[in-house]
């Protein structure tokens, strides 16, 4: 059962008479506290329960039951001193009830079937219950991350499940963040839980050769959440930035849980550095500002420093750099340059070359072409771009003609450049970006 605290809090506030109003105000304050507690505690509670019931879908339902109990009781009784322990205790009780009931049912069925007495409840269950009080929960949270991000699920389903189980977001909040109707997200989550149960996905951290692929699946989800917020295609800016922060938070948590994984630190570094530019990449009238045109004084130095630290941690772990470490290293090159003119394009071009080899894709190749054009002149950049023109994957990708137009303009081939900018303008779906491209086309015609 999915319950949104806000709905209950509204209900709690509705009442008659002046007394009810006072109670209502207090109750809604309590609900805000419950929201906060839930966000801090839910992942731990769900993860702990999942160890007990070996099913993250069921664990989440039981945790939600505990949340409902809190919403019912705390406005009256006040928020307990240790709200997390309270929620965990209630959830555990529900879990035990549920399991005992299941066992009784199975025993009855067995008695009917065989006319035999069955054994006492499984002893390992009690052992797990005891262990929940003493063993650290961190390993369970890591198991939860890997299970919720299992590749048997689509990337969108993984993202929804991760935000729900690890971010403590409500279905409504997830729907708002992804600009889709709430029932769509609710269904996505229900189906994802069912898929995990049917596929018999174990509640564990994969080891051995499987681990790298599974970790990639986790990182992909976190970066997808980040980009959903970063490449704002709609919605209010506030919510989008919120999503970036959610991804950053998940990444930082993961870095704490799996500190020996260089790619986790690489992803965190990449997100910290990209997030540092949030204020600079939107102009006063909401238009996008390209990286090289940004006011670097608006970059968040604290996040840049954090990004560098994460990148250093990744590099210290050694081994050949993975795709996130490489992308973070490229982002760090930009962050390091005091002005756009001082960017180390030679290094960026070299990093892109490594990245292309690791994750061959026409989009990465296009980025490499830009870097090469900056480092070694537009002629060489254009040669790389021209090799991509026939690539079907980039057929409707507006950045291809946009980059090509830029290189042509720098070579003084203005008529061709104008045609490319116009083509790019026709392909982009982003209105402010289209205006920028049409301006460039006009500038070519005028020159």
């Amino acid at each position: 059962m999915a319950v949104h605290p806000g709905v209950v809090s509204l209900r709690a506030c509705v009442g008659g008479g002046p007394d009810a109003l006072i109670v209502g105000v207090t109750a809604s304050d309590t609900h805000r506290v419950i929201d906060a507690v839930w966000r801090i505690e839910s992942a731990r509670i769900i993860a702990g329960l999942a160890r007990l019931v070996r099913d993250i879908g069921l664990a989440e339902e039981l945790a939600q039951d505990a949340l409902v109990a809190a919403l019912e009781q705390w406005p009256e009784s006040g928020v307990p001193d240790n709200p997390g322990a309270w929620l965990m205790a209630v959830a555990k009780r529900r879990a035990v009830d549920r399991i005992r009931r299941q066992e009784r049912l199975e025993r009855k069925l067995e008695e009917i079937g065989h006319g035999l007495e069955s054994a006492d409840p499984a002893p390992e269950f009690d052992a797990v219950l005891d262990a929940l009080d003493t063993e650290p929960i961190e390993d369970d949270i890591l198991r939860l991350v890997f299970t919720a991000c299992h590749p048997v699920l689509s990337a969108q389903a993984r993202a929804a499940l991760t935000l729900r189980m690890l971010g403590g977001l409500t279905t409504e909040e997830i729907a708002r963040a992804f600009l889709v109707p709430e029932p769509t997200v609710a269904q996505r989550i229900v189906r994802a839980k069912r898929t995990l149960a049917e596929a018999g996905v174990p509640f564990e951290v994969p080891e051995g050769p499987e681990r790298a692929g599974r970790l990639a699946s986790v990182l992909e989800v976190i970066y997808l959440i980040f980009n959903e917020g970063y490449a704002a295609t709609g919605g209010t800016e506030w919510m989008r930035l919120d999503l970036c922060q959610e991804a950053l938070r998940l990444g930082r948590i993961l870095a704490g849980l799996a500190p020996q994984e260089a790619e986790v630190h690489g992803l965190v570094a990449l997100m910290e550095i990209q997030a540092s530019r949030a204020r600079a990449r939107v102009g006063p009238s909401g238009e996008p500002v390209q990286l090289l045109d940004q006011d670097r004084g608006l970059w968040d130095r604290l996040l840049i420093r954090r990004g560098f630290e994460a990148l250093l941690r990744a590099e210290k772990l050694g081994g050949p750099p993975g795709p996130y470490v490489l992308q973070a290293a490229i982002a760090a090159c930009h962050a390091q340059a005091p002005t756009a003119g001082e960017t180390d394009w030679t290094r960026i071009a070299a990093l892109y070359e490594l990245l292309v080899r690791l994750t061959p894709s026409p989009v990465v190749e296009l980025n490499r072409a830009v870097a090469v054009g900056m480092a070694y002149g537009p002629e060489r950049g254009l040669r790389l771009v021209d090799a991509l023109v026939s690539d079907a994957a980039l057929k409707d990708y507006h950045l291809l003609p946009s980059v090509r137009g830029d290189l042509l303009a720098r070579l003084g081939r203005l008529e061709e450049a104008r045609a490319e900018f116009e083509r790019a303008a026709a392909l982009t779906r982003n209105a402010p970006e289209r205006a920028v491209l049409l301006d460039r086309a006009a500038a070519c015609a005028g020159g």
Partner: protein, 118 residues
Amino acid sequence: MRFLMMTTDDSSSAGSPPDERVAAEMGRFIEEMSKAGVLLATGGLDPLPTRIESSGGKITVTDGPYAEAKEVVVGFALIETRTKEEAIELSKRFWQIVGDGKGVIHQVFGPEDLAAGQ
């Protein structure tokens, strides 16, 4: 939203470096906040600050120790949360770890908050 959480102390212990107990507490706190993914920066402060005052174009710098005991900030943590309630809940956790003491929580305004106030 960013919040600056500060722990304060009267300056009775001024001049002495943080003892082992405080260091251990801070260590646990940092671990807890990092685990929650909300900690941006943290540090301990010399309880004996240098005071600086600008008045009518004249700037006065005073080093301690000072005659009167005053509350001073001895530690800080800059955290990023979605709501103020979350910052307060995290702060409660800190005091559960540390035990007796005092602190303050300030929201840190960014350029966007200042623009809204104009």
